[in-house]
Symmetry: C2
Subunit: 287 residues, 2 copies
């Protein structure tokens, strides 16, 4: 999928909502447990109920891996279902992978070739050659972790980097956060046509700073909803001229109810968020 | 497995070799391709041939994921085979995972509970709460990425961190590499009884510095062999009083031959490395 196609889908749906399919087996409504594959059945109903109100789906691989071979099968069925029935929707493998070159190439094969996801989240710690193999697939995306929404983001992501520039005797010393260095350096690896960034919504005040470094990129924003971020702040400070935001909500949508009405409850919650997003698109993007 | 049990196994085998099961389907000898599960059959024969000369096995999950559901099945069979037949061997899921707390807990469940690996490699970028869920399992280990052996390690791992200590008006400014900060900070999360570090063998000169920060921890050292590190340097600068090293070799062992003699060739290569290790244990550890 191209940047422009994603933007057009956002305008059409008047939504930049991404639904996180973090499907925890222990939270699936009991009436689904006698199905052959309860996880897939749950996902299928959530997808059908929310597709009109979102533009992206993001299964987090951890929830599937925790169920072993069967879980991996549920993930495969979920992405196949999305690709077959909702090809307009942007799909994100939230896998946070990253390894040396030949190994990252294997992960790229797993998620882009075998499963045909549009994108994958990648951890930047190991640097350029751990990311580049993912960029060899046309119209596939790397979503690089920059500033995450968890408490531990202060441990390393927000450390201050000391840099001298201009050669040995230079007096130009600059101080930047590690996550800002990730945003800066990685722009040499791919443009906003193939790279997005994870930027946590609990730090809306940081968005202005982030937008100075990456004005044109899409940002995947977790942490709205259960993790406590404000959709208004994110939209106000993060939106650019092609929207540039995918705001994720997982638990508050998919677990809106744990009874037989779970899909309807998820739909209501997604619709509620979409209504707010439609408002922000009108007042910020189209003003 | 405890630190002491691993050390005793090293003394018994006179080896600190870890065999990396990075089993690439395209490199499996052709005569195995008519087996029901060629990847597992390859691993089984490699394991049986090398078990006398090594103390650990490390499948890299990327190679299995690239084959989809069937690959995940081969990984499950491989760890089951190891746990059943070689319980003394330390097993490492080289998965480089790491996510927000509730998600890392799912990865911990996948690798420690469903699969029963002894350890998992974890990426530090997202900080403490992305690592801690893995530490809730008794006698299971986190192997945290510190300094990796790839070229991209210079992008972020070797950046200089600027730190003021001692309060607002302090003049104490220190400069450390990011990977040194990872080593330092993470020691507050677990002791050398539950934490190891990945430190790349292509930087043997860095080992002295690393050993000042983590004198008692085991270090998992990739990059000896195909990636070009020197076993002698690693042993000289990295060994501590309980050995403290697991040196990994993948490609140079498992692809020593691509013909019907692949297992014998792997055995010879493993035995050759074990002979060198036995010498270094005698001259460095037991001197």
């Amino acid at each position: 999928m191209t940047h422009e196609e994603l933007f057009q889908h956002i305008l059409k749906k008047r939504s930049y909502l991404c639904v996180g399919l973090d499907t925890d087996f222990t939270k699936i409504p009991v009436h689904l447990l006698d199905q052959e594959d309860p996880v897939f059945e749950f996902n299928k109903q959530i997808i059908d109920a929310t597709a009109d109100y979102c533009v992206a789906y993001k299964p987090n691989t951890a929830f599937y891996e925790s169920l072993g071979v069967k879980g991996w099968g549920s993930l495969q069925k979920t992405i196949d279902y999305l690709n077959h029935n909702y090809p307009e929707h942007f799909t994100i493998a939230d896998a946070k992978r990253g390894d040396i070159g030949n190994t990252s190439a294997m992960y790229a094969k797993a998620f882009f070739q075998s499963m045909n996801f549009d994108s994958i989240t990648v951890a930047p710690y190991m640097g350029s050659d751990s990311v580049k193999p993912f960029l060899e697939y046309k119209n596939k995306w790397v979503i690089l972790l920059a500033l995450t929404s968890n408490q531990g983001s202060s441990d390393f992501e927000e450390l201050t980097i000391h840099r001298k520039s201009g050669g040995f005797n230079a007096e130009n010393v600059s101080h930047k956060h590690l996550y800002e260095m990730v945003l800066e350096k990685s722009q040499a690896w791919a443009s906003h046509e193939q790279m997005m960034y994870v930027t946590g919504a609990t730090k809306a005040t940081e968005f202005e700073k982030i937008r100075k470094i990456v004005p044109n990129h899409f940002l995947l924003v977790p942490g709205v909803g259960a993790q406590g971020g404000s959709l208004e702040d994110v939209s106000k400070y993060g939106m650019n001229k092609t929207c540039g935001l995918l705001v994720n909500s997982s638990r508050s949508i998919i677990y809106a109810s744990n009874k037989t009405d779970f899909a309807t409850a998820a739909q209501l919650e997604a619709k509620n968020i979409q209504t707010q997003m439609s408002h922000f698109l009108k007042t910020i993007l189209l003003k």
